[in-house]
Symmetry: C2
Subunit: 153 residues, 2 copies
DNA sequence: TTCTCTTACGGGGGGCGTAACGATG
DNA sequence: CATCGTTACGCCCCCCGTAAGAGAA
């Protein structure tokens, strides 16, 4: 069972015809015949009833159609979500800030501007001393920190 | 995004290493490097951070991992469901029966035995005269019928 | 005869494996 | 130097398109 086969099968199910489906998905008609057959062999189940005029779905075919539509929808949903995540438009940032810096106006306005620009990014701000921040940055539980650094770090 | 790529990626995510994953899925290690790279290009997102010792997931990678597990689970669920459906172990049967035949003991016991044998098959029994049954059998809204037939049918 | 699905066959893209390379602790 | 990920390259499978075949209205 491959996404491509499901896409073809959905077209066949919705048009009630392998020929019509082949035009819809821009693939030669024998290719669809073959992929549907392979899908049936893979699932061990007849999915279509072939008539002289087009095809109709078996019970199993109807069930697969419903599932396949959901499956492809899920795939596009994942795509869009990952695209946003990858661009940093959504996500989560864990930020350490020393207590003293929390009250610095520049820091507060920086956070505010970031929130305005990327409203889908969740912020977790941890008030922490510089030492613990460094430790958590190293172990990855913080993404960034505003803190005092010794010269050597 | 293909099922195969998701399967590979899940193995990589769970082992934290492309090499280890390649042994787990019985595929040469460069093939996994390539498929993961193709998956990243396809989604337009970095999924892994490569270190000298293995790999770790980016935020997008973690998100994809969760979704991918569900997606593959869904696929196997569909497989098993369709397998049962294809064997007639579950499904629905629409049956027409003439009112007179409903009271024939043989008919009642036939239905009872069928129900016992295939408890997952839902029955819809329609009390119908022979004429309407024939009509609905032809249009497909009935799967079978118990009725009187003229000689020519 | 026409519309449909199926079968046959040859070409091409892509996935995989082997081998060589690069980087890091 | 051992281990891991990447790059290079050739083979082969499989998907596709074209062409021909079969069956039903």
């Amino acid at each position: 069972m491959e996404f491509r086969q499901l896409r073809y099968f959905i077209a066949v199910a919705e048009t009630g015809s392998i020929s019509a489906a082949s035009r819809q998905v821009n693939v030669a008609q024998p290719a669809l015949t073959r992929q549907v057959r392979l899908l049936e062999e893979d699932l061990g189940t007849r999915l279509l009833e072939r008539h002289a005029r087009g095809v109709s779905l078996t019970v199993a075919g109807q069930a697969l159609y419903d599932e396949a539509v959901q499956l492809l929808d899920t795939r596009t949903r994942i795509r869009t979500r990952l695209a946003s995540l990858g661009q940093g438009l959504i996500g989560k940032v864990s930020l350490g800030v020393t207590v003293t810096h929390l009250w610095v106006p520049e820091v507060a306005s920086l956070l505010r501007r970031y929130r305005d620009r990327y409203p889908q990014v969740a912020f977790e701000v941890f008030p922490l001393l510089s030492g613990p921040q460094l430790e958590r940055l190293r172990e990855g539980s913080l993404d960034a920190g505003i803190l005092y650094l010794d010269g050597g770090e």
